[in-house]
């Protein structure tokens, strides 16, 4: 019975989530990649041009991704994810929005990428690690 109480209190107190998490969770149920990336840019106060540069993407191509004119491959989405320092959750949402498969820790390459995302590594660092461990690099 006492076990219940912790859970109940937990639920009770979480029934009223903070505004930020509410927005993050509910504002985009199923949107396109371009919309989601735009939203992330605003949330994190990032500049599209900088992100494209840091993601090592061609300027025009990058612009087209953010406007929705082109659909990027899985690796390109990962490049953007590292450039924007996304969390694992955000990256997976971006990947599924673009139609690619999400990161699965059972796959060795994905596991390395997950680890690097969690640790805030740069794109360069993740490429280094992938190369060192004999996996295909991101770019």
């Amino acid at each position: 019975m006492t076990d219940r109480l912790t859970e109940e209190v937990l639920q009770e107190l979480l029934e009223a989530p903070s505004i930020d998490s509410f927005i993050a969770e509910h504002e985009f149920p199923s949107c396109t990649l371009a919309e989601y990336l735009q939203q992330l840019l605003e949330q994190k106060h990032l500049e599209r041009a900088r992100v494209v540069r840091m993601a090592d993407l061609n300027e025009t191509f990058g612009y087209q991704i953010f406007t929705g004119a082109r659909n990027p491959s899985r690796n390109k989405v990962l490049q953007i994810a590292f450039a924007m320092a996304l969390t694992l959750k955000e990256t997976n949402r971006a990947l599924s929005a673009s139609g690619a498969s999400t990161l699965n820790c059972k796959n060795r390459r994905d596991a390395i990428i997950i680890f690097c995302l969690d640790h805030g590594c740069s794109l360069q660092k993740v490429n280094e690690e992938l190369f060192r461990l004999g996996e295909e690099t991101v770019c």
């Binding site: 006492t2 076990d3 109480l5 912790t6 859970e7 209190v9 937990l10 639920q11 107190l13 979480l14 969390t87 694992l88 959750k89 997976n92 820790c105 059972k106 060795r108 596991a111 390395i112 997950i114 680890f115 690097c116 995302l117 969690d118 640790h119 805030g120 590594c121 740069s122 660092k125 690690e129 060192r132 461990l133």
Partner: protein, 451 residues
């Protein structure tokens, strides 16, 4: 992910990261070898299962307990702290041994040993609640909790101590379920996550400040009542009312002090509570607190060190094999932890002394200016003023500030905590250098030769 180490492109961090990556990849590779035997508990944030590890040659290791925790609500990080502590050699006798601790994004998967035995609730029901039982079980429990508070780099506050979270194993009480435990952060004004079980959780846990060691002391006080009376403790903390319910007066006073609403009035640490409880034991069973290698003299609480095996009263349930507690906590941090426990009145006396000393030195400098000795008389007045005011008054002011006991000041003006001890040291140094340079320039301007 507040506690994640971010990769820096320096050599030793890279090695660390590479090792961690290796460990992570190995854990991911093992992920399929865990066989789930049964599910113990399932909720939105945490799934607890009994698992067995299937070796490649068909053998099985186990049982283990695996918890998968969704950390996005700010819970669960305690397991990583425990894992790190155990991995670096800290011996925590009353905590299950963590075998694996892997974080993927927001999900933490912890595998730890399966502790056999009844929960404290079951144990009390089976053996029957009594003052004897309470006096037997609680000191060990307090010791377990103070281990968590003192042996880790930062105190780990459990925040959910209750009868169902304590297993009475053959080697003593083992604390489980660190789901809402958290490490005490020096800069947090209040906890961001509010949880707990109403009967055992103190008011500050529901949003009125940061929980600290004394929150666990509150829970221990309630547990003392539970062990003595066998029922859920009521929401009262006055000694008289407790006595009216049937609790003997000695224990009532202890429970009352431990469960006061104001944390300042409670016992300052689980250790203090332990000693208070031990003093209630009948004389024959010995009052020594056997603690191995506790080399921090906690100010104001004289600890009796005994290197003999613990006095084990009556039942064999409680035979604990005592081992020296090796700790890798930095001495400096433990020094500060024990300093922080000095009573406030002592801090005030100290402050008065520091200010008096500074005042005396300032007075001395004024005298040196106004009534110089033979040597200084040769120097021009303006120079004497510059020299003494700068070097003594200005230069020593940050030093005096450094030495003050600023705990009350921080309570009133939390913003001042931004100026950490290191920063204060730096300021002292910088001010000292600046004053010396100015004095030297002034002396050059005055044409004084330093012989």
């Amino acid at each position: 992910m507040p506690d994640m180490m971010s990769c820096m492109e320096t050599d030793c961090s890279t090695d660390n990261t590479e090792r961690e990556l290796e460990r992570y990849l190995q854990a991911c590779a093992r992920a399929d070898s865990w066989r789930v035997d049964r599910v113990l508990k399932e909720s939105a944030f945490e799934t607890t299962e009994v698992v067995y590890f299937q070796g490649s040659h068909g053998g099985e290791l186990g049982p283990f307990v695996r918890k998968r925790i969704d950390c996005s609500a700010g819970v669960g990080s305690a397991y990583e702290d425990l894992w790190r502590a155990q991995h670096s050699g800290v011996v925590l006798r009353s905590v299950p041994r963590i075998v694996e601790c892997v974080r993927t994004g927001d999900t933490l998967a912890v595998v730890m040993e399966f502790v056999e035995g009844p929960t404290l609730a079951g144990y009390v029901k089976r053996t029957g609640a009594s003052v004897d039982l309470a006096l037997r079980v609680l000191p060990e429990l307090c010791r377990a909790v103070s281990d968590l508070h003192e042996l880790l780099p930062q105190p780990l506050i459990h925040r959910d101590l209750k009868p169902s979270n304590i297993i009475m194993s053959s080697s003593g009480p083992i604390i489980i379920d660190f789901g809402i435990a958290r490490t005490w952060r020096t800069d947090a004004e209040c906890d961001t996550a509010h949880f707990g079980t109403r009967a055992y959780a103190p008011p500050e846990q529901f949003g009125f400040g940061q929980t600290d060691e004394r929150s666990d002391v509150y829970a221990l006080g309630k547990l003392l009542y539970f062990c003595a009376m066998g029922e859920e403790p009521p929401r009262i903390s006055s000694a008289d009312e407790l006595m009216a319910l049937g609790l003997p007066s000695g224990l009532s006073k202890i429970v009352s002090q431990a469960t006061q609403l104001d944390p300042q009035v409670r016992f300052a640490s689980a250790h203090a509570l332990e000693r208070a409880i031990l003093s209630q034991r009948p004389a024959g069973e010995g009052n020594t607190v056997s603690r191995f290698e506790k080399n921090d003299a906690v100010a104001g609480e004289g600890v009796l060190l005994s290197s003999s095996a613990r006095d084990v009263p009556t039942s064999s349930d409680n035979a604990i094999s005592v081992a020296p507690t090796g700790t890798s906590t930095s001495r400096v941090q433990r020094f500060w932890a024990s300093l922080a426990k000095t009573p406030h009145w002592l801090g005030k006396v100290w402050n008065v002394l520091v200010i008096l000393t500074y005042g005396l030195l300032v007075l001395g400098s004024i005298f040196a200016i106004v009534q110089p000795n033979t040597e200084d008389a040769a120097l021009p007045l303006w120079f004497r003023i510059v020299e003494y005011v700068l070097i003594v008054d200005v230069g020593l002011a940050p030093v005096a500030y450094l030495f003050l006991d600023k705990r009350r000041l921080y309570d009133l003006h939390p913003l001042l905590k931004v100026v950490t001890f290191r920063l204060q040291l730096l300021i002292c140094f910088v001010v000292a250098v600046a004053c010396s340079v100015v004095t030297f320039l002034a002396s050059a301007a005055a044409g004084i030769q330093w012989a």
